[in-house]
């Protein structure tokens, strides 16, 4: 599939050092469209939509915000903590608006598995179905999210 000028711009914004230090693609050799398509297939098999996952991530984040961004236990088994630092991040897909640099960590205390994501991650998943490339700092594996957070 030939990359459109918009695709090229988005890809450029996903490179290391443009919006974040390591970028959004990690060590993935696929283009972002293929990454999205592959993750959508995984989601389809799992019977969950990207919107449902984004809602779930936002649910934990909101619970943490309700606890003044301190730590809180949600649904008895999830330890949730959010760190907020100064500044905002724009969307690499060139959506207008910016996303606060907030980093939420959810730990499933039964399995010990943790996930850390930013406010931008929630937007990327909900609107673009983009979970980031393999080995990207904030890559979230759909399969793991569904197994651990639902």
């Amino acid at each position: 599939m030939k990359a459109t000028p918009t695709d090229k711009k988005i890809t450029a914004r996903m490179q290391p050092g443009v919006i974040t230090y390591s970028g959004f693609l990690g060590k993935d050799t696929r283009n972002f469209k293929q990454i999205i398509a592959d993750d959508e297939m995984v989601l389809e098999k799992l019977g969950k939509s990207a919107e449902e996952i984004a809602d779930r991530l936002e649910y934990f984040q909101q619970k943490s915000f309700d606890a003044f961004q301190g730590s809180t236990v949600v649904d008895e088994i999830y330890d949730v903590n959010t760190e907020v630092v100064r500044g905002y991040l724009p969307c690499p897909f060139m959506h207008q608006g910016v996303y606060r640099k907030s980093y939420t960590t959810v730990t499933n205390t039964k399995s010990g598995k943790s996930f850390t994501y930013s406010a931008l991650n929630i937007h990327l998943i909900r609107v673009h179905h983009f979970f980031e490339g393999k080995k990207s700092h904030f890559r979230l594996e759909p399969r793991e999210l569904v197994a651990e957070l639902f």
Binding site: G17, T20, Y21, S71, E83, R86, G87, Q96, K101
Partner: protein, 368 residues
């Protein structure tokens, strides 16, 4: 036949060159806006070459509007009111402006092209903002993810700021980072020192600037920054003070305390510092020194996740319940807060609703 083909090629080539020339000339003519005037606050006229953004045009004249994204239209920090000119609000600006701001014709200076005369309104404090060139003089490791960095200004340069204000650091390209970015950090040194400043920088996951500061900068490196910015500063009154900070939010509080030590004060002051664990505490010795020096100052660290191995004997949980011990007269108490928006919101709500502090006496620097 061959000659005919060559003639046609030459003719087409000639037409192509002429068209290209016309395009170049047209572009120069069409995009040449000549000299235009920026009128600031109805008082001052700047003559600039038309066609650049308002942010760049002002910067070229050493007037620095705050901007965290380097003019890419993503941070919304460079808002200023356009009184006349500037064209309509662009779609790129709308998501970062409120309805009220759009009604007042507040614009993003980085998106407004100065193509004709324009009248703008900006706070007078912005005229005090300068660009500084400095050399890194000292880097201290305060915690595992917080450093204190001292910037010595170039010979002859001095900075005037109020305790609590911030500067914008400009990174240089490094490693995978090809573009410079600008990021805001509160000054942690006292304003009485005018030839150097200290900043406290916490490492942010994937942060371009904080990674640069933590992993690249070393003593002797040259760094540029602009400032001072911000309306979070110590008010000159006799009111009691409650300081509340978390993480790198200690920076402006340290500056305020050092300033008060310099000028002298009898004010009752209590500083609540919220941290997760013992390893997140820093500037402890400095705070104990302040306790020794001031007549009525108490430093109260509060840990939200004290580890059993920390053997922590101090206060735990949220900071708010402990305010009761510090507030003797709500009507004569000011609060200075620096930290995450969640912490600021919770503390502000508590100060107003639980302790009766007037909202207008609560000053804060909310990260973001």
């Amino acid at each position: 036949m061959l000659i005919r083909i060559l003639q046609d090629i030459a003719l087409m080539g000639g037409i192509g060159v002429i068209l290209a020339l016309i395009l170049v000339l047209a572009q120069r003519w069409l995009s040449n806006y000549g000299e235009v005037t920026i009128n600031i606050n109805g008082k001052r006229d700047l003559t600039v070459t038309g066609g650049e953004t308002l942010l760049t045009s002002l910067g070229d004249k050493q007037i620095f509007i705050p901007s965290a994204c380097g003019g890419r239209g993503t941070c919304g920090a460079c808002k200023c009111q356009i009184l006349d000119g500037g064209g309509p609000i662009l779609p790129t600006e709308k998501p970062l402006l409120t309805k009220q701001e759009m009604g007042d014709n507040v614009r993003l200076a980085c998106q407004v092209k100065v193509k004709s005369d324009i009248k703008i309104q900006i706070p007078d404090e912005i005229f005090n903002i300068r660009r500084f060139h400095s050399v890194i003089e000292e880097i201290l490791d305060y915690t595992y993810d917080i450093k204190g960095v001292t910037f010595k200004l170039s010979e002859g340069q001095t900075i005037d700021f109020k305790a609590g204000q911030y500067v914008q650091l400009e990174t240089k390209p490094y490693g995978k980072v090809k573009q410079k970015v600008m990021r805001a950090y509160s000054i942690s040194s006292k304003p009485e020192i005018k030839d150097r400043i200290q900043l406290i920088v916490r490492l942010v996951p994937e942060g371009i600037c904080t990674t640069w500061v933590h992993n690249q900068l070393k003593v002797g490196d040259e760094v540029d920054f602009t400032g001072p910015y911000g309306d979070f500063y110590l008010r000159d009154t006799d009111a009691d003070i409650i300081f509340v900070a978390g993480g790198s939010g200690s920076a402006p509080i340290k500056s305020m305390l050092e300033h008060l030590r310099e000028v002298g004060t009898k004010r009752k002051m209590t500083y609540f510092f919220g941290a997760r664990t013992v390893k997140d505490l820093y500037l402890e010795e400095e705070m104990r020194d302040f306790e020794e020096y001031f007549d009525d100052f108490e430093y109260v660290p509060v840990l939200s996740h004290a580890d059993e191995t920390d053997n922590w004997q101090g206060k735990t949980g949220f900071v708010m319940p402990y305010f009761k011990e510090a507030i003797r007269d709500p009507k004569n108490t000011e609060a200075y807060l620096c930290g995450s928006p969640g912490m600021i919101a919770a503390v502000t709500k508590s100060l107003i609703n639980d302790y009766g502090i007037a909202e207008e006496k609560i000053y804060y620097d909310s990260f973001g």
